[in-house]
Symmetry: C2
Subunit: 546 residues, 2 copies
Amino acid sequence: MTIEYDQLPTNAANFVALTPLSFLQRTADIYPQRESLIYNDRRYTWSQTRARCTRIASSIASRGLGKNDTVSVFAFNTPEMFEAHFAVPMSGAVLNTINTRLDALTVSYIIDHGEAKLFIVDRQLWPVLEAALETSTLQPEIIIIDDPDATEKPSLPTEREFSYYEDLVEQGDETFVWRQPEDEWQALSLNYTSGTTGRPKGVVYHHRGSYLMSMGTVVSWALPQHPRYLYTVPMFHCNGWGHAWTMTAVAGTIICMRAFAPKLLFDLVDEHKVTHFGGAPIILNMLANAPKSDQKTFGRTIQVMTAGAPPPSKVLESMTQFGFNIMHVYGLTESYGHILQSSAQESWKKESIETQAELKSRQGVRFAMTEAVEVVNPDTGKSVPADAETVGEIMIRGNTTMKGYLKDKEATQNAFRDGWFVSGDLAVIHPDGYIQIKDRAKDIIISGGENISSVEIEAILYKHLAVGEAAVVALADDKWGEVPCAFVELKVGCDATETELIAFCTNHMARFKRPKRVIFGDLPKTATGKIQKNILREAAKALPVS
Amino acid sequence: MTIEYDQLPTNAANFVALTPLSFLQRTADIYPQRESLIYNDRRYTWSQTRARCTRIASSIASRGLGKNDTVSVFAFNTPEMFEAHFAVPMSGAVLNTINTRLDALTVSYIIDHGEAKLFIVDRQLWPVLEAALETSTLQPEIIIIDDPDATEKPSLPTEREFSYYEDLVEQGDETFVWRQPEDEWQALSLNYTSGTTGRPKGVVYHHRGSYLMSMGTVVSWALPQHPRYLYTVPMFHCNGWGHAWTMTAVAGTIICMRAFAPKLLFDLVDEHKVTHFGGAPIILNMLANAPKSDQKTFGRTIQVMTAGAPPPSKVLESMTQFGFNIMHVYGLTESYGHILQSSAQESWKKESIETQAELKSRQGVRFAMTEAVEVVNPDTGKSVPADAETVGEIMIRGNTTMKGYLKDKEATQNAFRDGWFVSGDLAVIHPDGYIQIKDRAKDIIISGGENISSVEIEAILYKHLAVGEAAVVALADDKWGEVPCAFVELKVGCDATETELIAFCTNHMARFKRPKRVIFGDLPKTATGKIQKNILREAAKALPVS
């Protein structure tokens, strides 16, 4: 006789698809009058935020859109961008936020590849979108966010018909019944990453993952109820590290920041009693180097999550004067953002400030929702010893790992190996189990928190008639952390100057991606003809820091 | 063309079965040297706890046990009981903890119904188990927990062979590979509840539910990292409200309490800098009424979760002197414990202490992992208005709802209706959305935090030759909250005294379940012959409080 444990199937009462949409429902039920969003003079309560999101969701649904339809959002960190994180999936659709610094050609590619059915854009970004639509095959309906506080308000062509975001709110139906996913594996969002291959890849998130990302972040960052969170991290990056959903789960108040400036951050932290914020190390660097007259101290501790690159010890130290307690985390777009954290140990307290900063700059140990992270020898497939010396590749397993890359079977297959997601980042493990990245995925340059694919830049350089061979690597930069540096071998009998090639790149890619230096000469190669980027990286180190 | 969002299936890297077992793996990896458990002079680190649990799991597995095999544990809140919450499911088996106050016949029923393959018992409870084994069909292998700190150490029969818990540890294999569930719907534990029908029902928990219970508890109780948790709640109640797993998720330190006593609690809170504990209102009541010389104050706030009955305002008020901040919660065995909480609102601060206590005594609003709770008119199936007056039945939906009742299709079917779990508790909703129970499931008496089924007592009474009809209801009691009170109609020509019937019950059930009063007379009935318990409840109210 077999006992009947397996004869109790799931039903609608005991198995509900995990989705971050539940957080808004619950928080608006319990704290309807608490402030949800603050943006300059605009303030909303959770009751209002739910009503607005429901109305927008109904407006999207009324256009015939729903499950597996892509709605793109090309916008800054304003309330509309926050609302989109609920409103779009509440209609059943997939939220595709787009990096505001991208160039028209890439945006055009994303529109077609992601099959955008609706495109919500901040008016300031209209010129980029207009250019993108010139080359895109698809011509989605355009919804304009017309932010009165925008500094740039380009005029809109009169011959075109636009809908406005606030019209979607007004025309929407507040009694619309949300389309909660029936399957938690359903696509929630689509995030394009530059990846390592030059062409943007569409990383697909599932509802289950984002729900668990939020829960695990609360556990491992020890978030209290009602944090006051300043949204400095662009929401187009891994859905703003998932914090739009996480802060809703803990009924926080979100303070929006359309554009980052050190003085504004200090003022907002002060005025709105901010308790938490996040940002790439470059943000911290800018805060540390801001004019004294712009800086403020607060007489209290503010929790700060930083990611993108290890924060330099000097920066970590300087943050303490403001009461900023830095938690360094590590993750990728493919892992929904942070999955490792430099959790402080009791024993660190007796170390010097310098040693503590060094310990904190390691990528660390896994978050609560991360099932497993190992550093593996790519040749043997075995874990490297925890000796702080043997380098291996970071492998990730857990429920905050993407579904895969949209319409790219090959890349998806390559990303998963033997039950692991292959990060492409190289690291060591310290004897205490903390992971430290030694050499990041060789083709990626992280500049001001933005991933730049060297392969993408190389592809452009190759289009220049004089370029024979090109290789781009990272060059250390005081301000940006890293900037691209190009090594170029000219075709025989051809000529080009550094200025000329930089200008050529600027014309063909987002400005922030252009190489800041171009070095001419023969490129070192392996016996099989592969360019030895490790040697070029060494050569770049010898260049004067800009 | 359909976009390919649905063509990215799950794989081993991005979909891992949710299980609370992951918490131990992670915490032992990251905080191997932090203290996990404290019990009198015994102390363990997380590294040691993982090693011990792994060894016990391997010993269980080496007996040929695994998935869907039941391992029963009949024990107090000692480290072994905590370890069983990991070790048993790590072997793949199902953890069945049994109420230490149960009588031999009920234990015998549970052994047979739950099909126990292995039975771990605290030596003090051996006499109950020995009697149970006399009537049970199954004769599982017995493992003795021989706690040196037990106050009662009955001798064990020499003619029987016993294994000892520490032998399982010693003989176990520390390199044993845990059997993580492949399916998060797999049975994790089996908790018998007296329910409303007299016979214990086996509530089956799934791995998914307990994982989410822990995550949601951290979010909604705002648990910090490394709480110091005093385990006063018996772990046989809803797996100790899930806190064995929850406290592991946040790398807490668990202080074990074999038997509750007010002085001991004050001493332990002081000595071990306890930050959190839980207990039924009767526990709080005993603390409030303890001799002044036993009481202590701490000059800090200690978070206390209470459940089982609304804590009286007077008790809530008196707790403030000790710095105990009480969070009142509500739940059932079927919902893994707490699913509603009396979350304090900002606006309550301006209310009087009395009003605040009243507000806090409501069952409240849902926890983060609870998807929906409604109060429904059982006749119409519609939600009652939030007017604080209209009574309806509490209906629950969410991932911390049981799989069902083991081997009881009918009860399982009755428990689920129209996509809801039917709680059987009657309540109102206040205009602010807070739920308050007005009349609990009519057949249940809650005495000292224990559920007692009136139907079970009635069934015993009916076995007495003189009893014609019997009905048992709750009688208010200063110490226990409620005690059973029996109304009996004697058979014509028969006679029996109150003392005689109470003695008869005591011989046939756990002592705590016996009626404290027996009232003789005709029983009020409806036109269709159903006994009107509501009238008896009113009659019980008129009795002098004991």
